[in-house]
Amino acid sequence: MLELRAVTAGYDRRAPVFRDAHLTVAPGEAVGLLGPSGCGKSTLARVAALLHRPDAGEVVLDGMPVRGFRHRAPREQRTTIGVVFQQPRLAADPRLRLTDLIAEPLRATGRRASAADRVAELADTVGLTPDLLGRRPHEVSDGQLQRACLARALALKPRWLVCDEMTAMLDASTTAALVRVVEDYRASTGAGLLSVGHDRTLLTRWCDRTVPWEAVAAG
């Protein structure tokens, strides 16, 4: 289970972005969190991905309360959650070639030896051709870059995926393609998904259940 219990978070203690959020994702379950832009759902996604320390409340991962966030979270805990962000341009280190971008989590966790094979496999999964892998982010389109970012998120075979508006910048065909990649991955691994977004049609089609923002947190 990935659980958020009474989480209050923000960037200024006096004015939290949201208060008292409760959300549960069961293993293998796909939950869509539907909210308007600017409501704080991206912050919630960062808390769920252990990237932002909440001001109050706790995140419980497989029954274990999370003690630290960001670097203070144990590496094993951090890497069980894969994250995909809204804007691939900002989510990709501009200096890295796509192949290094995808291999980055493998190298960071000491899987350097198997990286090349795994990158080829992942690139194939997300539909990136080998010639694209040698390019840098500014040489590919948003859609291609987001494919690479999804491949990076899947590199360590996470048991949870957090997608923060993953498809907001993408056209219909790339959206459908990336959702299919996520769903194929979940079907084969039984990973749980928290997909945050504002597109009701998309999330209802994609997820097992969709919860509106108002039911999760108080602004």
């Binding site: 909210g35 308007p36 832009s37 600017g38 809204q86 539909g127 990136l128 051709t129 010639d131 694209l132 590919v140 389109s141 948003d142 859609g143 291609q144 508006e165 907001a168 910048m169 993408l170 056209d171 219909a172 065909s173 790339t174 959206t175 459908a176 393609a177 959702v179 299919r180 504002h198 597109d199 009701r200 049609t201 998309l202 209802t204 089609r205 994609w206």
Partner: protein, 328 residues
């Protein structure tokens, strides 16, 4: 459309010259018209050349770009006009730009009010502090920007409000042609609908609107006509009702794009678009197309509403290959 077009684009091509003599054909032979009171939606995936087309119309291409063809706005050819004319008489006055990322479009250190008042002062004859203030507030209201937020800085606004602030700026000069470059990116559905309806109101007031978007739902809501761009070419140009309703798109790519929508079959078009720097000689969509044949090795001419050797017929169910298809 029988209306006299306001913007008339003919054979517009944009090519970038890269170091090492490489050429990238970003836009090839685009031709379309936009009339007053009409909205043309230019749709296609990211990197297909639609934003470059908008930059070409505004004269905002980088120095390594080359253009060919014409883009007449009234009697002025936007592609040959000099920077002075574009800066003083075109941008803001004859073409209003609703930008792609409003947050980057606004100066971070100044309030929305000062943005709008400055634009009012530059583009309209309004004199005096009070009058300018009033004009700025009217402009904000037209774009549904809440007056209570006028004294905020861009970073204090949500994405939706920043978008409306940018729209308000575009409307100040009362330009006959509005050019919206992905105006709904990152907005939630309600806000997309409201932004789009707002833009539609300006179209109904007699503005011409060229909206560049990858959001098919937004296009369906606002457009009179739809142009589909693939790999730098316009592959289909159709009435929006026919395109989104019945009989539906005729180009296999447009059809695939619509089918990818979550409310339809949610299946992607297989494969990736080709590289603009390495386009095939024939139909660029052929490698991804289930209707492709040998005929597709030649570039399909744009006929009627579509550039395809095997368009999905408007009435009959199957296209029959004729010898004419194989001519160059």
């Amino acid at each position: 459309m029988t209306l006299v077009p306001l913007l008339s684009v003919r054979d517009l091509s944009v090519r970038f010259l890269l170091p090492g003599g490489r050429r990238v054909d970003v836009v090839s032979d685009a031709s379309f018209d936009v009339a007053p009171g009409e909205c043309l939606a230019l749709i296609g995936e990211s990197g297909c050349g639609k934003s470059v087309l908008a930059s070409a119309l505004l004269g905002l291409l980088p120095a390594n770009a080359r253009t060919a063809g014409h883009a007449h706005l009234g009697d002025l050819d936007l592609l040959t006009a000099d920077e002075r004319t574009l800066a003083r008489a075109v941008r803001g006055r004859r073409i209003g730009l609703v930008p792609q990322s409003p947050a980057a479009h606004l100066t971070p250190v100044r309030t929305i009010r000062s943005h709008i008042e400055e634009t009012v002062a530059r583009l309209t004859g309004v004199r005096g502090r009070a009058a300018r203030r009033k004009a700025a507030e009217q402009a904000s209201l037209r774009a549904e920007f809440p007056l209570g937020h006028l004294d905020r800085h861009p970073h204090e606004l949500s994405g939706g409000l920043a978008q409306r602030a940018a729209t308000a700026l575009a409307l100040v000069g009362d330009a006959p042609l509005l050019l919206a470059d992905e105006p709904t990116t990152g907005l939630d559905r309600d806000l997309v609908d409201r932004t789009v309806d707002e833009l539609r109101r300006h179209v109904d007031d007699g503005h011409a609107l060229l909206m560049i978007t990858h959001d098919l739902a937004a296009a369906e809501r606002i457009a009179d006509r739809v142009a589909v761009m693939y790999a730098g070419r316009i592959v289909e140009l159709a009435d929006a009702d026919a395109f989104f309703g019945s009989p539906g798109p005729r180009h296999p790519y447009s059809r695939g794009l619509l089918e990818a929508l979550p409310e339809r079959s949610f299946t992607p078009v297989p494969g990736l678009p080709p590289e603009l720097g390495n386009l095939p000689a024939g139909c660029a969509f052929a490698p991804r197309c289930d209707r492709a044949t040998d005929a597709c090795a030649a570039l399909p001419p744009f006929e009627n509403t579509v550039a395809c050797h095997h368009p999905v017929p408007a009435d009959t169910s199957h296209a029959i290959r004729t010898p004419e298809d194989t001519r160059a």
